[in-house]
Amino acid sequence: MDPISFVYLAAILFAIGSAAVLTRRNAIVAFMGVELMLNAANLALVSFSRIHGEVDGQVMAFFVMVVAAAEVVVGLAIIIAVFRTRQSISLDEPAELRG
C-alpha cells in the first residue's frame, strides 16, 4: 500500500479528533479527541518517515507519545478536580467566565 494513504488516514483521524472536541460535551471524550489528533500527527510523522525513507519521523513519534502521556496526566488531574467539585464533567456547564 502506498504510504501516502496513511497520511490521508492521519488527516482523517485529525479531522475526527477535532470533530470530537467540537461536538462532545463530555470532557473526557473531548480530551480523547485531542489525543486522537496527536496520534494522527504521530501517524503522519511515521508515514512521512517511511516516504522519506528514514527513521527520524519515527523517533519524533516517540517524543510525542511521551509528551502526550504527560499531558494526559495533567489533563485528567484537572478534569478530576472539576468533577469532584461539580459532580459533572460536562464541558458546557462551567461557563461562568465569559463576555
Binding site: 477535532s18 464541558l91 458546557d92 461557563a95 461562568e96 465569559r98
Partner: protein, 626 residues
C-alpha cells in the same frame, strides 16, 4: 511746528488715558483737562496751518516720520504723518469744532456722574480722528478709522444702561465693520498690486496698475466709505446712533467722523482718477443717499433723527461730488467743512432745546420755542439758512458748486446726478424748514411739566461761534477760489467743466426749489396746527418714518437668516460634527458589546472558533490572498 504735529494726536490721546486711569479723583478737573487737550491740539494745528501757508504751494506736503512700525520682510511700513492741505483742513475742522463741542459738553454733561469718562472718550475720538486724517498710509489710516469707530461705539453707548442704547452702539460698530471689510480688502489689493500700503507707494504705483485693479480698489474703498459715512446701503446705523449724548451727535455723527468716508475717497483721488467706473458708482451712491436721507428727514418727528437723516443726505452730496472726480473733490471737501459748522451748530442747538425740554426729542411736542430760547433760535436759524443754501450763508457756496458740477459731463450722468442734487436741494429746504418751524414756531405743544429756558453761556457761546461760521465761512473760503486753490496740491487742478445747463439757470432753479420747500413747510408747520400724534400718512411717509424699512430689510435679509444659520450651526456642531466623533465612540462601544457576546464561555465554541480560524487562514495562505 510741523514736525511736532504728532502732538496733535498724542495730547488728546494722553489726556484720554489719564482720564480713564485716574478714576473718580479726576471728577473735579477731568472735563477741563479734556477741553485743554482739544484746545491745545487746535493750537498746534493752527500754528501748523500758519506755517503751511507760508510755504510755496508745491511744497505743502510734509511727511513726518514717527517710528518703525511694521518692519516686515515685504510689508515694511513706518508710522508717519502726512501733513498737507487736505489733512490740515480736517485738523482744523476737527480741533476747532471739537474744542467748541468740548466746551459745550462741560455744561451739557454737568449732571452726569461719569463726565470725566465722557471727556476721555471725546479726547480719544479727537486723537483717533486726527490720526485718521494725518496718517501717511492706508494701514495707519485704518487704525484711526477703527479708533473713531471705537470712540463712536463708546459714546453712543455712553448711557448703555438703557438696553436700546447699548444695541444702537453695537449696531453702529457692527455696520461699520461691514464697511471695514472693504478697507481691508482694498489694502489687500493694494499690497498685492503695489507692494506696500503707504500713500507714496500706492499713489505712485497707480499709473502702472490696470484699470480693473483700480476699479476694484475703488469699489472696496467705497464700501468702507459707505459704512463710516452712513451711505446707502450701510446707512442704517446713523439714526440709532443718536442715542449718544447730543454733543456726540454734533461732533462725531455730523461734523467729523461720518465725513471720514468722503475724506477717504478724496484722499484716494489718485486711484479714483484711474477708475472712472468706480467713480460713477461713488456718485450714484451719493446721489441715491442724498435723496434717501432727505425723504427720511421729511418724515421724522424726532429732532435728532431728522438731523441725522439730513446728515446722511448732506454727506450724499459730498459723495456725489467726490464721485464726480477732479472737478468735484475740492467741492466735496468744501461742503464737508461748511456742513461741519452748520450741522454741528444745529445739533448743539438741538441739544440746547433738549436741555430746555427735559431731554425730549419729539418735535410734535415742541413749537414756539423761539421766545423761550432766543439764542438757540438765532443760531439754529443760521444753520438752517446755511444748509438750505440761502446766499450768502455758507451752504450756498458749497452746495451750489456741487449741483453745478453734477450737471457736468456727457450722456445720462449729468442729468441723473444733477437732477438728484437739484431735487435734493428742494427736499432739504422742506425738511429743514419743517424741523425749524415745528420746533421754534407755531403753537406751543409742550407737555405740562415743561419749562423751556435758554441754556447756559457755556453752551450758547459755542453755538454762537458755530453760527457765525455757518453764516460766513462759505463766503470767506469761496471768495477767490481760496479754498479750492488751497486744496489743489492734493485734489489736483479742477478743470472747470461746463454744466449741461447754464450755471445761472441752475442757481435760480435751486433757489426756486428751496423757496417752494420753505413755503410748503411754512404752510404746513408754521401756520397750520401740528397734530401731536403723527397723522396717518401715505405709504411713502410711513416708509420714511421707518427709515425706508432699512432695519426690516436688514433683519429679513441678514439678521434673521444669520440667526437661523447660527442656531442651525450650533445644533449641527453638536449633532453632526461632534456627533460624528461621539457616534464613532458609541459605535465602537456597541461593537464591543456585540463582539463580547461571542465570548460565550463555552469551551467548545472557543475550539470551533479556533478551528474555523485555522481553516480560513490555511485557505488564505494557500490561495495566496483573499
Amino acid at each position: 511746528m510741523l514736525d511736532l504735529s504728532w502732538l496733535l494726536i498724542a495730547v488728546p490721546l494722553a489726556s484720554a488715558f489719564v482720564l480713564l486711569l485716574a478714576g473718580k479723583r479726576a471728577n473735579s478737573w477731568g472735563h477741563w483737562m479734556g477741553v485743554a487737550a482739544s484746545a491745545s491740539a487746535f493750537l498746534v494745528g493752527l500754528i501748523a496751518f500758519l506755517q503751511m501757508i507760508s510755504r510755496p504751494a508745491d511744497d505743502r506736503a510734509i511727511n513726518v516720520h514717527l517710528f518703525e512700525w511694521i518692519p516686515g520682510g515685504e510689508m515694511h511700513l513706518d508710522a508717519g504723518l502726512l501733513v498737507d492741505p487736505l489733512s490740515l483742513t480736517f485738523v482744523l475742522l476737527i480741533t476747532f469744532v471739537g474744542t467748541l463741542i468740548h466746551i459745550y459738553s462741560v455744561a451739557y454733561m454737568e449732571d452726569d456722574a461719569n463726565r470725566r469718562i465722557f471727556f476721555a472718550y471725546l479726547n480719544l475720538f479727537v486723537a483717533a480722528m486726527l490720526l485718521l486724517v494725518l496718517a501717511d498710509s492706508f494701514l495707519l489710516l485704518f487704525v484711526g478709522w477703527e479708533g473713531v469707530g471705537l470712540a463712536s461705539y463708546l459714546l453712543i453707548g455712553f448711557w448703555n444702561f438703557k438696553p436700546e442704547y447699548a444695541t444702537a452702539a453695537k449696531k453702529a460698530f457692527v455696520v461699520n465693520r461691514i464697511g471695514d471689510i472693504g478697507l481691508i480688502i482694498a489694502m489687500g489689493l493694494m499690497f498685492a498690486a503695489f507692494g506696500n500700503l503707504d500713500f507714496d507707494t500706492v499713489f505712485g504705483g497707480v499709473s502702472g496698475a490696470s484699470e480693473a485693479t483700480l476699479t476694484a480698489i475703488g469699489l472696496m474703498l467705497l464700501l468702507a466709505a459707505t459704512g463710516k459715512s452712513a451711505q446707502f446701503p450701510l446707512q442704517s446705523w446713523l439714526g440709532d446712533a443718536m442715542a449718544g449724548p447730543t454733543p456726540v451727535s454734533a461732533l462725531i455723527h455730523a461734523a467729523t467722523m461720518v465725513t471720514a468716508g468722503v475724506y477717504l475717497i478724496v484722499r484716494s483721488a489718485a486711484i479714483f482718477n484711474g477708475a472712472p467706473d468706480a467713480r460713477v458708482v461713488v456718485a450714484a451712491v451719493g446721489a441715491f443717499t442724498l435723496i434717501l436721507g432727505a425723504v427720511i428727514g421729511m418724515a421724522k418727528d424726532d429732532i435728532k433723527k431728522a438731523l441725522a437723516a439730513s446728515t446722511m443726505s448732506q454727506i450724499g452730496y459730498m459723495m456725489l461730488a467726490a464721485g464726480l472726480g477732479p472737478i468735484g473733490y475740492a467741492f466735496a471737501i468744501f461742503h464737508l467743512v461748511t456742513h461741519g459748522f452748520f450741522k454741528a451748530g444745529m445739533f448743539l442747538g438741538a441739544g440746547s432745546v433738549m436741555h430746555g425740554m427735559n431731554d425730549r426729542v419729539n418735535m410734535r411736542r415742541f413749537g414756539a420755542l423761539r421766545a423761550a430760547m432766543v439764542v438757540t433760535w438765532v443760531t439754529f436759524g443760521a444753520g438752517w439758512l446755511a444748509i438750505m443754501g440761502i446766499p450768502p450763508f455758507s451752504g450756498f457756496f458749497s452746495k451750489d458748486k456741487i449741483i453745478e458740477a453734477a450737471f457736468v459731463g456727457e450722456g445720462w450722468q449729468p442729468w441723473v446726478f444733477g437732477l438728484a442734487a437739484l431735487i435734493g436741494a428742494g427736499l432739504t429746504a422742506f425738511y429743514m424748514s419743517r424741523l425749524f418751524f415745528m420746533t421754534f414756531h407755531g403753537k406751543a405743544r409742550w407737555e405740562d411739566d415743561q419749562h423751556p429756558h435758554e441754556s447756559k453761556l457755556m453752551m450758547t457761546v459755542p453755538m454762537i461761534i458755530l453760527a457765525v461760521g455757518s453764516a460766513f465761512l462759505g463766503l470767506i473760503l469761496a471768495s477767490g477760489d481760496r479754498f479750492v486753490d488751497w486744496l489743489e496740491p492734493v485734489t489736483g487742478h479742477a478743470e472747470h467743466g461746463e454744466p449741461v445747463i447754464a450755471p445761472m439757470v441752475l442757481i435760480i432753479a435751486t433757489l426756486v426749489l428751496v423757496a417752494i420747500g420753505i413755503f410748503v413747510a411754512w404752510r404746513k408747520y408754521g401756520v397750520a396746527d401740528v397734530p401731536i400724534e403723527a397723522p396717518a400718512a401715505s405709504l411713502i411717509t410711513i416708509a420714511a418714518r421707518n427709515d425706508m424699512f432699512q432695519d426690516s430689510v436688514n433683519r429679513a435679509v441678514f439678521q434673521r437668516p444669520g440667526q437661523h444659520l447660527t442656531r442651525t450651526l450650533v445644533y449641527a456642531d453638536a449633532a453632526v460634527v461632534d456627533g460624528a466623533a461621539n457616534g464613532t465612540a458609541a459605535g465602537i462601544a456597541k461593537t464591543g458589546e456585540v463582539t463580547r457576546k461571542m465570548q460565550t464561555g463555552q469551551v467548545r465554541g472557543y475550539a470551533a472558533t479556533m478551528l474555523v480560524g485555522l481553516v480560513i487562514l490555511v485557505i488564505i495562505v494557500v490561495q495566496g490572498g483573499l
